[in-house]
């Protein structure tokens, strides 16, 4: 617990209630037993669930909760006894003037002894982001994809030995929660916000089973693994294992690693989009045949590497950012320029032909004929797929010795396969008609 940011203040003496109640027993508080953070990124909202083994005395007990110097929303704080629930009642909540930003539960217990209690509340200031590392094999046919989650805590409170759960996906309910969260200044909405969030997260039996499974792992040394659960329209990822995330710190937690993901590596050349560079892409699908598809993948940064030697010396291929990838969807990673693949377009000839005049002697129509040649070079030691795209305007027609496909009214595409160290030349003749020469 960080100094000055006490969540629960401990006391251990007998107090005499000033009025109303008889003697009030102040509970001695141990550290938190477990803490669970469920982070809604899109709403800057995190639900915190703490459990503690508290020693109650029979009768009235007093428990303080302070949110000073933190981003905890005090209106969302709840106390529940998990054991002896029917024998433990919150009788009163007070706001003692001697300490600011503190509430004091007055709890009546019918039993003396240890009781497991849960305290839960909302806080803001905790965010998470995903990132991926894609390692392609030497042939760029298979990929090892590893996902990580970075949790950043700027909430003002340290969370020790914490289980982290992440809500992925943008759905109507989440949007509603986000809207409510943005209205946090208006406290009346907090009740709706908290109830909506709580109900959505807690309403599934499967979640509890999974949660118990995680809690029973007991192996703190095991690497954290993220459990994914379908929750109606979005997914809940539970990071197995526990970690301490102090305020002001970020922690990067391993999410998953999948080997043998089939990948297509290819290059695109389109001057209007990327200038004179051939751009490398990796494409894979988030589905079962690709050894993925168990859950949608949250948006995040991707760094791609490729093995260049048998003993797995890696070379950096490129970095990009991917959007949220639903199950079954293909993802195309744009990894930037690769100087080992070159495309050199050259205008070999240009002619203005078939100039026609109107009755007053003005130019009324003409035709331009361009001869283009593309030198394509693969300097790599593996096969390369290359997609060359050319865009034309107006009334145009094209002749080429190399097979091409028309993608739409203004775009054609050449699909080339280059062997290692191979050079190819592609050429075409473009005829464009203007004025009264236009035939379409």
């Amino acid at each position: 617990m960080s100094p000055g940011k006490a969540l629960l203040l401990a006391a251990g003496c007998w107090l005499l209630a000033s009025a109303g109640y008889a003697r009030i027993n102040v509970v001695t508080l141990p550290d938190r037993d477990t803490v669970q953070l469920t982070i809604y990124n899109s709403a800057d909202l995190t639900m915190v669930k703490e459990t503690r083994h508290l020693t109650f005395r029979k009768g009235l007990n007093k428990l303080e909760f302070s949110w000073a110097n933190t981003l905890i929303d005090p209106t969302s704080v709840e106390f529940h006894a998990l054991t002896h629930a029917d024998q433990v009642d919150v009788l009163d909540v007070r706001f003692p003037p001697r300490v600011t930003n503190t509430l004091e539960w007055h709890i009546n217990s019918e039993v003396a002894g240890e009781i497991v209690c849960e305290i839960r509340y909302f806080t803001s200031g905790i965010t998470w982001s995903a990132d991926y590392v894609a390692e392609a094999d030497k042939t760029e046919k298979l990929l090892t994809l590893a996902g990580n989650v970075r949790v950043t805590n700027n909430s003002g409170e340290d969370y020790e030995n914490t289980q982290v759960r992440l809500v992925v996906g943008v759905i109507r309910l989440v949007e509603e929660i986000a809207t409510l969260a943005r209205q946090r200044g208006q406290r009346t909405d907090k009740d709706r916000l908290f109830n909506a969030f709580k109900a959505e997260i807690d309403r599934r039996g499967s979640y509890k089973t999974k949660e118990l499974g995680v809690l029973c792992l007991g192996d703190e040394q095991a690497p954290a693994e993220i459990i994914k659960e379908g929750v109606s329209e979005y997914f809940l990822y539970t990071v197995a294992g526990r970690d301490t995330i102090p305020t002001g710190w970020s922690k990067r937690l391993p999410s998953f690693q999948t080997n043998n993901v089939p990948v297509t590596s290819y290059y695109k050349f389109e001057k209007e989009q990327w200038g004179d560079a051939a751009i490398r892409f990796y494409k894979f699908k988030n589905d079962k045949p690709s050894n993925l598809g168990a859950e949608p993948l949250p948006d995040g940064d991707v760094k791609a590497f490729r093995a260049v030697t048998a003993d797995k010396l890696w070379t950096f291929v490129g970095a990009t950012n991917v959007k949220y990838i639903p199950i079954g969807e293909a993802v195309e990673l744009e990894l930037g320029e690769d100087r080992d693949v070159k495309v050199q377009p050259t205008l070999m000839d240009w002619q203005k032909l078939d100039i026609r005049f109107d009755e007053w002697g003005n130019v009324a129509g003409w035709t331009i004929k361009e001869t283009w040649q593309f030198e394509v070079q693969n300097s790599k030691d593996i096969d390369v797929e290359l997609d060359i795209r050319r865009n034309f305007e107006g009334d145009w027609s094209m002749d080429s010795a190399t097979k091409f496909a028309k993608l739409d009214a203004h775009k054609v595409h050449y699909g080339l396969l280059l062997k290692p160290r191979e050079k190819q030349t592609v050429g075409y003749e473009l005829t464009t008609r203007y004025g009264i020469n236009v035939t379409k």
């Binding site: 000055g4 000033s18 009025a19 109303g20 008889a22 000073a68 110097n69 005090p74 209106t75 969302s76 704080v77 709840e78 106390f79 919150v90 009788l91 009163d92 909540v93 007070r94 706001f95 003692p96 003037p97 001697r98 300490v99 600011t100 930003n101 509430l103 539960w105 007055h106 200044g185 208006q186 406290r187 009346t188 907090k190 009740d191 709706r192 908290f194 109830n195």
Partner: protein, 185 residues
């Protein structure tokens, strides 16, 4: 009658001007100035962190000094940024806490009560202020005064969908109203 009419006529423009000024002052006082939000927040947090929070852990003259400094800070906020509804509500309630700690219960009661009067939209601050003042009065044996605040809590906050903490406060308020005769039992 003539004199009276003349007096009324003469008084009318003055009344009108006064009304206009009142409307202008009222609108100036309530219209939030976005430029004030950040300094008001900073002033509140500085006062709370530097003086008010530490006063809870200090004793003797040091505690008195910290409470006085905190009160000065909150009063300054109320003077400088009256348009900042949320920060003023917080400052006003905090000032009530300080006066209560200084033993000035009657002053504290007025400050707590004014939170709802001046900042009725700040539900959480209103709830805390009413609950604190009700408990203080109850503990001081002024149960009739306390009951008025407990009743206000029930009237305003006893709704089906309120948060757990609000439900507990409302339940306790009911208990106090029902057990008025047993205040010191």
């Amino acid at each position: 009658m003539e004199s009276m009419s003349r007096n009324n006529f003469a008084a009318f423009p003055g009344f009108l001007v006064g009304l206009v000024i009142t409307i202008l002052l009222t609108s100036c006082a309530t219209a939030p100035n976005p430029a004030h939000a950040k300094p008001a927040k900073s002033l509140f947090e500085f006062t709370a962190h530097e003086y008010h929070f530490p006063s809870a852990f200090a004793t003797g003259t040091e505690r008195d000094r910290l409470l006085a400094e905190a009160a000065t800070g909150y009063e300054r906020l109320l003077r400088k940024y009256p348009d900042q509804d949320d920060w003023c509500a917080k400052a006003l309630r905090s000032l009530g806490n300080i006066r209560a700690e200084q033993g000035q219960l009657d002053v504290a009661v007025k400050l707590y009560a004014s939170v709802a009067e001046k900042h009725p939209r700040q539900n959480w601050e209103v709830l805390q202020a009413w609950k604190t003042v009700a408990d203080l009065l109850w503990d001081a044996g002024r149960t009739d005064e306390a009951k008025k605040f407990y009743q206000r809590i029930i009237t305003r906050f006893d709704k089906p969908d309120v948060a757990d903490v609000v439900k507990s406060v409302v339940r306790a308020a009911r208990w106090h109203l029902a057990n008025g005769g047993n205040a010191n039992s």
